[in-house]
Symmetry: C2
Subunit: 253 residues, 2 copies
Amino acid sequence: MGTTQLETVPEPKYWHLKTVLSEALDQDFAVGEVLPNERELAARFGVARATLRQALEQLELEGRLQRRRGVGTTVAPPRVGVAVGSTEHSWPGESADGWEIVDVADTAVVSPAVLKLLGAAAGQPVHTVRRTRVSHGQAVAAELLYVPAASVPGLSAIDAPAGPARARAVLRELQRLALDGQDRSVELGSARADDAKELDRLPGAPVLVVTTRYFTAAGTAAVSVATYRADTCRLTFGDSGAVEISHETRAAS
Amino acid sequence: MGTTQLETVPEPKYWHLKTVLSEALDQDFAVGEVLPNERELAARFGVARATLRQALEQLELEGRLQRRRGVGTTVAPPRVGVAVGSTEHSWPGESADGWEIVDVADTAVVSPAVLKLLGAAAGQPVHTVRRTRVSHGQAVAAELLYVPAASVPGLSAIDAPAGPARARAVLRELQRLALDGQDRSVELGSARADDAKELDRLPGAPVLVVTTRYFTAAGTAAVSVATYRADTCRLTFGDSGAVEISHETRAAS
DNA sequence: CAGTGGTCTAGACCACGTT
DNA sequence: ACGTGGTCTAGACCACTGA
């Protein structure tokens, strides 16, 4: 008996479903179009709703679909490229890069892990600036920027009582410093409740967490933790224009 | 009736469960330790197994747990930092960076999207090199490197019949070219069947897809599509050492 | 073989947005 | 009020690993 090709196991239903749906999306649906509801789709494919949902979840994870409770499931536009690492190092807030200040919780309590990143001692006052990044009219990222008070001594006395005005002051002071370098990492996470609200997603939604450390000669002057919507964003780093790709880049060769 | 604090909606069970488990992991479990099986955990918390699984899935997504069919659920070590963007641009294969050549499918059929990235015409021959990146004894990434034959003219005649030897030859030829720049993007995806096998994960597992374009004066000389295990990897970019963080960085402030 | 996680079902109820 | 997706249940069977 020749070992031709029949040692493959039965493909899970939801996996096969995903493939079928994916092809249907390419051929029969336009961006923004709404799909039939889950109960009907499940019936049409002859599977339980939970199984259908497993396929939809994957497609949403890959940025093909957008689902909203109370509304429906729509075909998502291609992911937007969001520039994260320009060639030149720069402080947050320099040039209009799509970030909007939301709020600042002055001298707030900071988690031990962030303190460790800052190389700061517990109890040390830290300015905490909350910002949102908007692209194509949609919120794509929420950021928490941590700036030890020691990094921006100019603010020690002249202070507004916290709020957007003060946040801007913190950024302004930062930009006066000489930036020696920066450090960045990207990992997968799930949206905390506050970030989820900012990003118009449910808590637990997949996000790309970008952690950046800003260095001066004196050490780590600031740390930024930015969470990007993983479903709609493609983070771009590089010299030249953003890479233009779609999910098809990874289609079976 | 004072509107004290009771407009909060009931937290989903799986979300609360995740929090409880997360704290238990911090306090009562060591890295590598195995958890009780799903049926017992579900019973212990008084929920259905599906609900418990929803919590476990999130924790796995966040890199806190590792689950393997037939084996069990174990506490995952902190994510490993994997350097992706060194300061200097470099061709793939330069310096020992943990990549291992697996195979090369010479002049294989290439998806239209990749061809578009390459700026190449359909039907043009493209060398396709398959590599794996190993870190700490574990496969963390699988890569497909596309090199149009036109980029490495030195290989046109002197050829082995495809295979690791030829793959090495392609990389060697690449490194002779003057690299003008590169372009990188990161997005969330789910593992294709072949990548999943390489990474010892199930198909559909979450991965970080890093797409890199390599430019010479003549245009795009090569494109790399690397898929990293999202559960175990933290991609690092930057001048200095990798950022050292844990999930705690994003703990509620 | 026994035990694990992975898949699947057929129902129920809930939270949300729109009408 | 209605229809949507989100949560949850209590079961069943399957695929894989290891002893």
